[in-house]
């Protein structure tokens, strides 16, 4: 079990992590979802002993990362957001180096990385700096796993990786989870939230919600409408002016709209748009996804 208790961390005037308390169970695949600057990296660096919290306690499987950092470093496999392996060493040399440094061998824990490493093994003589984004990510994951960590801590592992590799990567995480490794991952991509057992929505150093993704979505009770219009910008302006508008925001090609009233119908919204001389294709009630929940949660706070 991993537990954060009232964790605070500031850098000069930035309150990067602001009173974070939460619990992650052993064996969970847990996600921190939040935009740039939310404080995900700062939180991770406190968990893995690189950063000391200003206030609060962390309990990592019964260890205190501040005092027992030596033990903590043995049981965490950390993959920083930025690729941090040696560019001038080959795939094989990097893996060998990290295995030795953790007092183990590639052979000993090969079963853990086999599925992942097999995919890059044909290029094992190639310097890490010359690998594609997806290959780098697989190598970094192999290096983070080679000492059989109890906790895998992945900071934005899929940033800058193509869609196919992203999907593959999440499949790999599912398999690792089945092997009993606790996985904590951060991502700015809302669509990846659905792949976690539980997620924490984080912004400006604060946690706004912690729940399984399905629960977060089902807690969203207000009716949500998607509006397909010709002119997104003008319609957005017009809807914002409307007295009943709770929130409206661009969502991909469309706009998502929330009304203050409980029982509006699509017709009412269409009528309003027509009255503003705006042409629209379609107004339709939809099921919210994680991103809508995130926006709703942070909107209420802001």
């Amino acid at each position: 079990m991993i537990e954060f208790k009232n964790i605070h961390k500031s850098f000069e005037d930035v309150h990067a992590v602001d009173d974070v308390s939460l619990r992650i169970e052993e064996g969970e695949l847990f996600g921190f979802i939040g935009p740039d600057g939310a404080g995900k990296t700062t939180l991770f660096r406190m968990l893995n002993s690189l950063l000391i919290p200003d206030e609060g306690q962390i309990n990592l499987f019964g260890l205190d990362p501040v005092k027992e950092y030596k033990k903590v470093r043995q049981i965490i496999g950390y993959m920083p957001g930025k690729f941090s392996l040696y560019y001038d060493l080959s795939i094989e040399e990097n893996l060998q180096f990290f295995a030795t440094v953790f007092g183990t061998t590639i052979e000993e824990n090969y079963h853990l990385i086999e599925d992942i490493y097999k995919q890059i093994e044909p290029f094992k003589k190639r310097p890490a700096g010359k690998l594609s984004g997806g290959m780098k990510q697989k190598l970094a994951l192999s290096c983070a796993l080679i000492h059989k960590p109890r906790l895998l801590l992945l900071d934005e592992p899929t940033t800058g990786v193509d869609a196919v590799s992203r999907r593959e990567f999440w499949e790999m995480l599912q398999k690792l989870k089945e092997k009993g490794i606790t996985i904590v991952v951060s991502t700015p991509y809302m669509d990846e939230a659905g792949l976690c057992d539980r997620v924490a929505l984080m912004q400006n150093g604060k946690i706004h919600a912690v729940a399984p993704p399905s629960e977060i979505v089902s807690q969203f009770s207000d009716p949500l409408y998607t509006i397909k219009v010709k002119n997104n910008y003008k319609s957005l302006q017009a809807l914002r002016q409307w007295e009943f508008c709770e929130n409206v925001y661009p969502f991909g090609e469309t706009l998502h709209y929330l009304d203050k009233r409980n029982n509006v119908s699509a017709d009412v919204i269409e009528a309003y748009l027509s009255s503003q001389q705006l042409t629209f294709d379609k107004v339709e009630m939809i099921q919210p996804d994680i991103e809508d929940c995130f926006i709703a949660l942070t909107h209420n706070v802001g």
């Binding site: 950390y78 040696y86 953790f102």
Partner: protein
Amino acid sequence: MRILLALLQKEFLQIFRNRTMLPLIFVMPLVQLIILVNAATMDMKNISITVADMDLSSTSRLLINKLEASPFFKLEELSINKEDAIDRLQDNKTDVVIFIPNKLEADVNREGIGKMQIITDAIDASKAQLSFGYLSNMIRELNLSIAINQQSLPNLNQIKSEALYWFNPELNYKYYMLPAIMAILVTIIGMFLSALNLVREKEVGTAEQINVTPIRKSHFIIGKLVPFLIIGLLELTLALLVAKILYDLPVNGSLLVLYTFAFIYLVAVLGIGLLISTKSQTQQQVMMLSFFFLLVFVLLSGAFTSVDNMPYIAQKLNRLNPLYYFMNVIRMVLIKGAGFSDVFLEIRSTLVIAIISVSLAVFSYRKTT
């Protein structure tokens, strides 16, 4: 131990794969020794000299003959009066003026002592000093030959016994500069390469990954120290070979003494380099700081000017300057043939600096912030 070996293996792999560093390590000594030695060496031959001879006696003739015969001096003109001679000095037409008053020989014969004046252009202080040295030597020889001629007056003249050129009889300035340049070379390689290497790990982000491993700080620092220590010693060897082949540099002392000292010295400088990089975040900061230290070390060390002529405070500061000790040791060993007992003080002081700097580097390397 296995961790340390893995670290060392990693460092060596990286060094041998670095396409800019390796040539630098091996080309730099050649270029420096060829160019810098010649640039830093003052040509002590052909010092232009003007003699204002008022005496026109056999004694003054003797001196002028000696000057003409000397390879160091070029006798420009025999000027009749002192003012003309001084003008020539002021117009940069000559480097040294010798003024021989008209009763020199008479005074020598009568009172046993004669006075003459040597005026040098001291803008180039070391050149002036050296010319003065040559001339005093020459006049001393002259004194002796007069004494031989006039054996009735054995206690004839004040004899200045100047021991300036004992170890460098031909006054080969290169022999003075070569060891200095070699010492500076080894310092640059040691300090810069190690410092840049460590801060690069911070910049690239690999330090972040290293910091979450169980690698001990001391192992990490030793892993950075050993490769560059070996490279520094190789560099010294290379420089010695080049100096021997190109300039026939004498090696009068024991190389064991030199290498023992160089080993301790490199640990000290590498420690300083690593300390700089633990305190820096970017390669740029490391460059600035290393340059600052290098410049101070070199200027104080006595590479180009004699430490004895430096202000008291500079002489005191030199006690903290490892390059000052290295400069002494390398010159003493190569030129004077010094042994262990002669450089004991230097070894002891440098050892203290080495222990302090490496401990500080280990201490100030932070895995956690």
